[in-house]
Symmetry: C2
Subunit: 395 residues, 2 copies
């Protein structure tokens, strides 16, 4: 039922005003390796800087706090993150360099490291195999539900597990937004192989979602696994064998499921929107078209209003700067053609216009008819609740 | 009081549901030249395509309709725009190629050219020197007020006039959003000179504003003036004389005033925000930093909430991909320092945090301390009213 050798806990340490769980811990009984993808934001939070340097090491524990991003605090930020790591390393009797640390929350306020230090003994003591729910809750900020996904995968006739936890609902954009995602598995993998596998999965999942186009200083997606180098080749997976493909397929499913949960939980969102740009010249251009539409406030509010004003989709496509044929674009919504050769489809009528955006899930397909590359991104609609949440985030 | 030789009118022709004025006309008693800047959107409305080709000709009239963008209508769109031009050319007895045409409104619905054709005789008959108010009203869509600015300029001891009219309040972004701006003057200028002068002014005004990051298929800014080539050199302005500088200064003032009105009238906006990025490595990078902050929904909602969460400004700067020194950024709001060397300023306290965003006009300065280039952009806040307006634009 649980992932072998991984123990989890979560605790309220006093960082959040509402007394929700705010520090999560993962401790591994065996040495792990990690493959991690960090924010591309040039302003990086202190824990991002530290974990990035630790990610080449063996990892034995992961500690995450919510309620404070520990970003933009100058040298104090690094000091505070190191105090947390130091406290945990003493309690666990592991080296500081074997600890991975993350923070999420408000930027620019000092992290009260003492509060976390005081909570560490209890966090360590309570860590257990079935503690993942508490861990998932303790990393939430504006999330309305904890995000966990888990699947089994069969490798050489043994059943292994890939389990992921994520948080994030605002400031979500590719290249890691205010998003933390942690994936754990008991499959032993060589780091080099896992790095490549994870990067590919992140690109097609967490890097293919957007809520508001904002990206943060703290985003981290990390994949933890037993070190394949240390384990007899019999139990390993290799790049060319079927086991690699099975593991990668399940890893992508977990990442995608978590990414979808983040978008569904988009701040104030009431609709899940899947946008696919088809037949672009290059994958980059397909991605650019899909993301330009996905981030258009006019498109997102139109979905909220459920009134098909498809010209806004065309305008977004046209300003994406992908190479397109301006008079040759088809658009489908939930498999009904609404735009044909860049003009209103003959099948379109007032009735369709007023009902086609009613479903909770909107599937938009943009056929650019000028190449063979495609790309899918996920987003949500823009509502008044987004304004409410973000006009008063800290209050 | 009025600009010599320019006549204006505006009329309700049946395009708008609410019976507001929806077609505007400008007729000139003398041949004009035009310098125009059009949308960079690859999906261009029919009138943009036609006016772009006419803009090298002598211009004798300008006709503009609101209520319908005449974009994404395939060949029908070009036909309909040409019918409008044809009707006006017959009535005025000028060549079709001497007419400049613009449309603004909903994309993807056929323009009812007959309604405009029927209105043309009355539009022509009622055109008069003091008709600019009606013209300004007839080009409005979601605008809440007509936008007119006018100034005198002294050239060779004669008083000339530069007068501008604009519309636009949503889908506003650089490279011309759902924005139309028309500037008229009685100063004779050579086209080559006016083209350069106008391009520079547009870049520092209409191309330095953003409401929601969306750009449209119809945007046009056009500057109409008597042809300098046809007029004795005594009354002309030359690139190197003081008259050129005076005329350009006033032209920029008019453009900037209109641009500011557009942002002030931003859909649902309640605050005018001026963002200056200082001491960037290049002007492009300064512009990029200022626009990334200006388009961040998290920044815009923070201004609405009046609760200083300055980390959102830092996060936006960091993802702008301008070359910055991550630990060396200062931020000022209304001349008070709030961030010093990328961390909270010592002068910051709870009281300042809660009051500094109260004013109606917010002046944000970002000192990047890594170069000498600066750039200012204007934007507005994001409110629930924006969602209301855009979730039901067509209803």
């Amino acid at each position: 039922m649980y992932i072998k050798n991984f123990l989890f806990s979560g605790k309220y340490c006093g960082l959040k005003k509402n007394r929700d769980l705010d520090v999560g811990l993962m401790v591994s009984k065996i040495p792990l390796r990690v493959s991690a993808v960090f924010t591309k934001n040039k302003i990086k939070a202190a824990p991002v800087i530290i974990s990035k340097s630790h990610s080449k090491n063996v990892i034995k524990a992961l500690i995450v706090n919510s309620g404070n991003a520990n970003a933009c605090n100058g040298d104090y930020g690094l000091d505070d993150a190191r105090r947390v790591i130091h406290g945990l390393s003493k309690e666990l009797e592991v080296m500081e360099s074997n600890i991975f640390v993350c923070s999420t929350g408000v930027i620019g306020e000092r992290l009260n490291a003492s509060l976390i230090e005081s909570g560490i003994p209890e966090l360590v003591k309570s860590a257990k195999e079935d503690g993942l729910d508490d861990f998932a809750k303790s990393i939430m900020t504006t999330d309305t539900f904890p995000k966990i996904a888990s699947k089994d995968v069969s490798i050489n006739n043994s059943i292994y597990k890939i389990t992921g936890v994520a948080k994030g609902s605002g400031m979500i954009m590719p290249d890691m937004a205010t998003m933390l995602a942690f994936i754990f598995t008991d499959i032993p993998i060589k780091k080099e192989l896992a790095d490549a596998m994870f990067k590919e999965c992140v690109d097609l999942s967490f890097n293919s979602i957007t809520v508001d186009g904002d990206t943060s200083t703290n985003d981290t997606a990390a994949f933890f696994y037993p070190d394949g180098e240390q384990i007899s080749s019999k139990f390993q997976i290799g790049k060319t064998d079927a086991n690699y493909a099975s593991a990668k397929k399940v890893l992508l499913e977990i990442c995608f499921e978590l990414a979808k949960m983040i978008v569904k939980d988009g701040e104030g969102a009431s609709k899940l929107i899947t946008i696919t740009a088809l037949n672009a010249r290059t994958e980059t251009e397909a991605k650019r078209v899909a993301f330009t539409v996905a981030n258009s406030p006019l498109f997102k509010t139109m979905i909220t209003g459920e009134d098909l004003n498809w010209g806004r989709i065309m305008a977004a496509i046209g300003r994406s700067f992908a190479r397109i044929k301006p008079n040759d674009i088809d658009i489908y919504i939930n498999d009904k053609i609404i735009v044909e050769n860049s003009a209103a489809s003959e099948e379109l009528n007032k009735n369709i216009e007023r009902t086609i955006l009613s479903p909770k899930e909107i599937n938009l397909k943009i056929d650019l008819k000028c190449g063979k590359a495609s790309r899918t991104v996920l987003t949500c609609n823009l509502t008044k609740e987004y304004i409410d949440i973000n006009a008063s985030y800290r209050s």
